[in-house]
Point group: C2
Chain length 233, copies 2
Amino acid sequence: MNLNPIQLFDTESSTFTYILTAPGSNQAVIIDPVDHQLERDLRHLERLGLQLALVLETHAHADHVTSAGRLRALTGAQAAVPSGCGIAPAELQLNDGDVLRFGYAEEIRVLHTPGHTAGSMSYLWRGNVFTGDTLLIDGCGRTDFQSGSSDALYDSVTGKLFALPDDTRVWPAHDYKGQAVSTIGWEKRHNARLANRSREDFRILMSELKLAKPKLIDIAVPANQNLGLPHGA
Amino acid sequence: MNLNPIQLFDTESSTFTYILTAPGSNQAVIIDPVDHQLERDLRHLERLGLQLALVLETHAHADHVTSAGRLRALTGAQAAVPSGCGIAPAELQLNDGDVLRFGYAEEIRVLHTPGHTAGSMSYLWRGNVFTGDTLLIDGCGRTDFQSGSSDALYDSVTGKLFALPDDTRVWPAHDYKGQAVSTIGWEKRHNARLANRSREDFRILMSELKLAKPKLIDIAVPANQNLGLPHGA
Ligand SMILES: [Fe+2]
Ligand SMILES: [Fe+2]
């Protein structure tokens, strides 16, 4: 049965943070928390009477800094990250096919979906997939830095994500157009970059985007590889 | 069992719109849709494969215009509104205690919670309460226009909403501080305006707010009393 997450939005970086809650327990999971939203996120946990079990990252972000390290310290949660992202201080280094558990009987399945970065993971839970920057609503993440690869992203989306049931809800790490959620079925048929497009077409499309370098990348990536904590902390 | 709604935010008016979905059916309900977000909302219904059963209003808003009339026309949904708000063209005029049904076996219970306006309703569904402008996160709606009454709001919140189970999730019609959801238990203990405050204290507090008249009120209220449709339409 589909349970919607609680979706929070950071207007500065257009980042979605998700809080997962489930029946029979007050344990919660947070996905991709943002450093300057730490207070907001803690207040949600407090108001909802939630105990944070896991802080999950979809990848080492280039556009904002995570609050994972501070959330872990403040709540006692474990940090779970893709093993291929160089996020050394996290205790749970995830690989494709791993299953994370929380609450009474909740399972989060780990899906390796490289392309935006080589390590990027998607997370499956209760009819939802949290796709990070691999698959966005009517779009996808860039593939031109940080070990990105348009070939790998093409395979991850068309081979792995589009193989999920059509009614799986897609919750991305970002949206820039005021949209909140989509489905695998819709993206498979309509995604402007990936629906009905050949690998070669997609490679050309991505190579021609000519995107600016993210302002924060030189600070954010090393910071995120340390869970957002000052180095040495 | 608590099912979270899908929560959408309009930055212009700081209004939350909610889409309710449930197991076993593709029927959905939308609460407090905003006129200029019609496209966004229709796209969510399309992407999620939802059929809109009901358009619900919590009250006749003064700060934005509803898209209820157009959504009804475009989707075939029924419009359900508080009977005391003068929203004449809606087919379902709701009274305290009414139950709305959608999907396989979903029930929405109607709770008359006057104070922000005389007709204001809250809606209870699956461990959630949609409080409109009656109860906000750590605040409440104003009571100084549109048949508002601080006495009535005090009774609605402390007598009716605070009587709900502590873990009931509170989804308001607005938030101005980046917060998304709260609980009855937290608001009962911590709400800055209403927790542990006497009726007389609350009356004084509300009378001293000296809020500006909402810019859109003279347009929005008559428009919303016609479900956002042009008069004569
Ligand atoms: Fe990214
Ligand atoms: Fe209002």
